[in-house]
């Protein structure tokens, strides 16, 4: 018999609908999964899968590859593989053996239409990309490859413990129910248990020696019947969902109880696993969403590392079974739980049956009792902890520190000391009073050292007291009853005190740790908020992360070319290891934690956490722990928060950068258009004069010779003006391009000034120019050509914008490590407040008409600033305009060769 079901999740819940849409989107993109489902090994799943594969190849000529198929040396099965394309397996060295594994990378590279991957629940060899084969399959599906696979019912996560109860065999290889739920088709391979047993005896399932073993344990008729029922029921559940979906699609109302919601309380106790699976089954039965929660109560001492690890594992299992995970905190567990349940319309709460004694409840209050009393109309289900799975795992050692001798020696010493004091006081005090003295070392050790030493001290104290002070002396026999009481008292005090102190210390430690994490986060957030570049953020974050996680860190940023670029690291010289690049890429692609101790590539040396905001990958935080150890659950959740902060910061900078770029672009655009209109005006004016004069000379024969000479003169002048403008424009472009190469050399300032004045001798004939440069002024390290340009422009300005006869003064003096130069005229100056604007492009002064100066001062400023100097204009006392330059000397001026060697 074979039942084939088209499966799709449906729940009457908006979230579920949304998820379904997403599922379908994912499915549309990804490959399809077909699962051959059986209730026990040997029912013929692999055989059936191969049969289907052969049909696909024969009928539809599909590109089909056998990724991995375990024939278990069954002859019929092996025969079915013949003729199909086989993907080479990967050879893995593991503890001296060579294991053959499915080669995921080869499959992805080969990209067939359909691939066969047997035994979905298989656990991959250490060092593989994913610990589990179903994760390989998910990646294949994501890559758009259809997968045919096989699985037995006992590997389903939610049925795991039920089956363990039935068969007394704990199956460690499990597959989350979600994988099953997302399968596009499930084909149940069903044969009668008798037939299966028959086949087992015939040696068709296992080779003879294994068959005997298997028959004794697993293949008992009772087991097989139960497993078959479970498999049928699980398949039926899919049929059910299929029907539901059909009804929904047809617009038929469904008769589900509206608003059912299951809440399960999860704790670190191993029995919580059972609780979670019960909740999953209940929710599946009710077809309603369910929530797994952990309540962190303020009154409780915090969890040990191993407890927290287990709690996280439980929550992960719950998540994989379809639960929403939420973490609550409150003063009392029951209050937080009920408040959440009310707020979220929870209809049923699942709680584990208490395992401690009733006295405990009397002392501390019973959670169960409080929940039941406060639950109102919410149903409370109390689930018993089944013994096998729970008890199988030993109650984790309470983070027991290894035995140390020193505290015990100290305790002994303390008792000895007390003994001495007691001996001294024995003279004046009575025995029963001296007893009290022995409480002191017990208390001291309880508070300062710990429980073990404290109990030891109590015992030692009792013995010592008894030995030295109680009649008969120097024997340890205790005759009087009241000494029993004394001993008991001492023990109780020691115990209670040490327990209290221990708890206080743990709380203190936790508080401290929490505080430290908060402090780190606070410091991080604060530091990040002031960072303005991704590099700065990466720098800060890598430094912080290196501290917190005791690791070398790298921050990688995704780039438009889809590669990852290092933008920061701690230590600074840390480089991206090419071997670890794959881990980072995987993390950023799937937006999941990958690397050391995670589900993906757990064998690598680094842990890669994706940085993202709203699903947009921004980069990766890579940690290389100094000791190659996986992160604890606490650290992992901290890493999560850390990465979120980092992601937000990166996003913020990215957005700010984009905004800035946009603003700059707008500003540039605006400037360009104003510059263009100014330039075109400046260019056209002289061109118009030239054209006008030239055409007049060509066309008008009646011009007097005087006019002709005048026109020719203006053509020459305007051409010169045009040339100056073009030169200025070219200079400006060079300056603004930003890659102006300064060819600095040591120059005497007088040479530059003199050269500029000489070149402008014709323009300045009507002015009286006075230069005062001290002969001992040091050489300055400047670009001679550009600096001559500065003075040319400044002198030209003075010449053009002041009336004839104006005095122009040029003075220079050494001022510290700079040379200050002043060019002052006593002309009309510029209006008050206009001095700053002089250096803007195409600012020619309000009333000036002389052409060509629109760029001159802007160029001056550009050149002077490129030399690290400054230029400004001001109104000196007595009128006129003064330009003040400050130019750094640029180092120690060189010595001058005074001799001629070769003569």
């Amino acid at each position: 018999m074979s039942v084939e079901i088209n499966e799709a999740i449906f729940r009457p819940d908006p979230d579920a609908l949304l998820r379904r849409v997403k599922d379908e989107e994912a499915k549309a993109k990804g490959g399809k999964l077909k699962l051959f489902f059986g209730f026990a090994p040997g029912v013929g799943k692999t055989y059936r899968m191969l049969q289907v594969a052969r049909d696909l190849v024969a009928d539809q000529k599909l590109d089909l590859v056998v990724g991995i198929v375990e024939t278990h040396r069954r002859r019929e099965t092996a025969a079915m593989v013949l003729g199909l394309e086989l993907l080479p397996r990967r050879q893995v060295e593991y503890r001296g053996h060579t294991i053959e594994e499915f080669d995921l990378d080869a499959a992805l590279a080969r990209r067939p239409k359909v691939i066969l991957v047997d035994e979905l629940a298989h656990t991959n060899a250490a060092g593989s990309r994913h610990p589990k084969r179903w994760q390989d399959v998910e990646e294949l599906l994501a890559a758009g490859i259809d997968v045919l696979t096989t699985m037995n019912v006992q590997h389903i996560e939610s049925l795991n413990d039920v089956i363990a109860q039935i068969t007394r065999i704990q199956v460690r290889e499990t597959v989350p129910d979600s994988v099953l739920d997302e399968a596009d088709a499930i084909e149940l391979i069903d044969i009668a248990p008798e037939e299966l047993l028959q086949r087992l005896h015939e040696g068709k399932v296992y080779l003879p020696e294994q068959a005997k073993l298997a028959a004794d344990h697993f293949f008992q008729r009772g087991n097989l019947l139960a497993l078959r029922e479970l498999a049928l029921r699980r398949t039926a559940q899919h049929v059910d969902e299929d029907v539901l979906e059909y009804r929904e699609a047809q617009g038929l109302s469904n008769n589900l109880p509206a608003g059912e919601r299951v809440l399960v309380c999860v704790g670190p106790a191993p029995s919580s696993g059972h609780l979670i699976r019960s909740a999953a089954r209940l929710a599946a039965g009710l077809r309603c969403p369910w929530v797994a929660t952990y309540v962190e109560a303020a009154t409780l001492t915090s969890l040990s590392d191993s407890d927290r690890e287990r709690l996280e594992a439980h929550l992960r299992v719950a998540e994989s079974l379809g639960a929403t995970i939420t973490r609550l905190s409150g003063n009392r567990v029951s209050e937080a739980l009920l408040a959440y349940a009310r707020r979220h319309n929870v209809s049923r709460i699942l709680i584990g049956k208490p395992t401690h004694s009733r006295i405990w409840d009397r002392l501390r209050g019973s959670l169960l009792d409080e929940v039941v009393r406060g639950s109102g109309d919410i149903d409370v289900h109390v689930i018993s902890a089944e013994d096998n799975a729970g008890a199988a795992q030993p109650r984790e050692h309470r983070s027991r520190s290894e035995f140390r001798l020193a505290p015990y020696l100290a305790s002994t010493l303390l008792v000895g000391l007390t003994l001495g004091v007691a001996a001294l006081l024995h003279i004046t005090f009575k025995l029963p009073d001296l007893e009290m003295l022995f409480l002191i070392p017990v208390m001291v050790t309880a508070v300062w050292v710990g429980r073990g030493p404290s109990l030891y001290t109590a015992a030692l104290g009792v013995v010592a007291y008894d030995f030295f002070f109680v009649q008969p002396h120097f024997t340890s026999s205790v005759t009087e009853r009241r000494y029993f009481l004394t001993s008991a008292m001492m023990f109780v005090i020691g115990f209670v005190l040490s327990e209290l102190t221990g708890r206080m210390k743990r709380q203190e430690r936790d508080a401290l740790a929490r505080e430290q994490r908060t402090a780190v986060l606070y410091a991080l957030t604060k530091a990040l908020s002031s960072a303005i570049s991704p590099q700065a953020i990466a720098e800060i974050a890598s430094h912080h992360a290196a501290d917190v996680f005791a690791a070398a860190t790298l921050v990688l940023q995704t780039s438009p070319e889809a590669s990852l670029i290092k933008i920061g690291s701690w230590p600074h010289d840390a480089q991206l290891d090419p071997k670890e690049l794959g881990v980072a890429k995987w993390a950023v692609e799937k937006l999941k934690l990958a690397g050391l101790g995670t589900d993906t590539l757990p064998g690598s040396a680094t842990i890669c956490a994706p940085l993202h905001v709203g699903g947009t990958a921004l980069g990766v935080l890579q940690l290389r722990p100094r000791e190659r150890r996986a992160l604890g659950a606490e650290q992992r959740s901290f890493l999560d928060v850390f990465c979120r902060q980092l992601g937000v910061a990166l996003e913020r900078v990215k957005l700010a950068e984009e905004a800035r770029t946009a603003a700059v672009r707008a500003k540039t655009e605006e400037m360009r258009s104003s510059l263009l209109s100014a330039v075109s005006h400046e260019l056209r004016t002289p061109l118009a004069s030239i054209t006008g004069a030239a055409t007049a000379l060509r066309d008008d024969i009646n011009l007097s010779s005087f006019t002709r000479i005048d026109l020719i003169g203006s053509i020459c002048e305007e051409a010169e003006r045009l040339e100056r403008l073009v030169t200025n424009l070219l200079d400006m472009t060079r300056l603004e391009a930003g890659h102006l190469l300064l060819k600095r050399d040591w120059i005497p300032l007088e040479e530059i000034v003199g050269s500029a004045l000489t070149r402008l001798e014709h323009q300045l004939t009507a002015h009286s120019v006075h230069v005062e440069i001290p002969p001992d002024l040091p050489l300055i390290l400047v670009d001679p050509v550009l600096f001559e340009q500065v003075f040319l422009n400044l002198f030209e300005n003075a010449g053009k914008h002041t009336p004839p006869g104006t005095r122009v003064d040029i003075q220079a003096s050494k001022r510290g490590e700079s040379v200050a130069i002043e060019i002052r005229d006593n002309g009309p100056g510029v209006p008050e407040g206009f001095e700053g604007q002089l250096f803007e492009k195409f600012n020619r002064g309000p009333q000036t008409v002389t052409a060509g100066a629109g760029l001159g001062l802007a160029i001056c400023r550009g050149i002077v600033e490129a030399h690290g100097g400054s230029i400004r204009a001001e109104h000196p006392l007595g009128g006129g305009l003064s330009f003040q330059l400050v130019v750094p000397i640029g180092g120690t001026p060189p010595t001058i060769a005074r001799s001629i060697d070769n003569e």
Partner: protein, 233 residues
């Protein structure tokens, strides 16, 4: 007058500019040979043996500087570069490649004629057996034989370096001398003396010989290239 004025080879690809040069030069009795690309130049120099070459740098089929270098291997014809490339590096490169002078476009016709006269005179003087020993530039008189320099009749006291500088410029009056050329002439080709030395000595020389300290009426600075001793008009 006769038409045996100096023969000028004009290498220029822009027709309007050739026209302007042709008009200006022929009216001053120069004879002209024109080339609009680099490929004919060698042949024209061989066949016409011009007295002077005006050379554009950006030719359609070659670079003027390369051409100058190749010509210099076998010809001493004075070469004046006329180019729109105004960068100092280009000028220095052209001068060091063997060009005698450099004019940046746009230029006036007077400037061109002046430069041509200087180049022609130097070429002529180079071929004369005994070069003059006395030079006069305005008030300045230099007697190379007796090593006496006077300004308005007053003897100036120059250091050996200054005298050597002055002698170098006097012999090359009107020509641009690049820093490299000056360094080599004063300190020898193997010396690693740097440009700022030339500048400092030039500044000191100017203080002694220039009639007006503020105006460089004798020594013109060609920024980034070198200096030129101006000839009196």
């Amino acid at each position: 007058m006769n038409d045996v004025g100096p023969l000028v080879l004009v290498v220029e690809d822009e027709a309007p500019l050739r026209k302007f040069i042709r008009a200006s030069l022929t009216s001053h009795r120069y004879r002209i040979v024109e080339a609009d690309c680099a490929s004919h130049v060698t042949q024209l120099v061989t066949s016409h043996n011009p007295d002077l070459a005006l050379m554009d740098l950006g030719l359609p089929d070659g670079d003027g500087i390369e051409l100058t270098k190749r010509l210099r291997e076998w010809s001493r014809v004075p070469i004046i570069i006329i180019s729109a490339r105004g960068r100092e590096d280009d000028k220095v490169e052209a001068l060091d490649a063997g060009a005698d002078d450099y004019l940046t476009k746009p230029f006036g016709v007077n400037e061109l004629l002046a430069r041509m006269r200087v180049a022609l005179r130097h070429a002529e003087r180079r071929d004369m057996p005994n070069a003059p020993q006395v030079f006069e530039f305005g008030e300045l008189r230099i007697d190379l034989a007796s090593r006496v320099v006077t300004r308005s009749g007053t003897e100036l006291h120059l250091t050996p370096i200054e005298f050597k500088l002055l002698k170098l410029f006097a012999k090359n009056a009107g020509k641009v001398l690049s820093y490299q050329r000056i360094l080599t002439s004063i300190w020898g080709p193997a010396n690693a003396v740097q440009c700022h030395n030339v500048r400092v000595h030039m500044a000191e020389l100017r203080r002694k010989v220039e009639p007006d300290e503020q105006q460089h009426s004798l020594f013109v600075t060609e920024a980034g290239v070198g200096y030129r001793l101006r000839e009196p008009k």
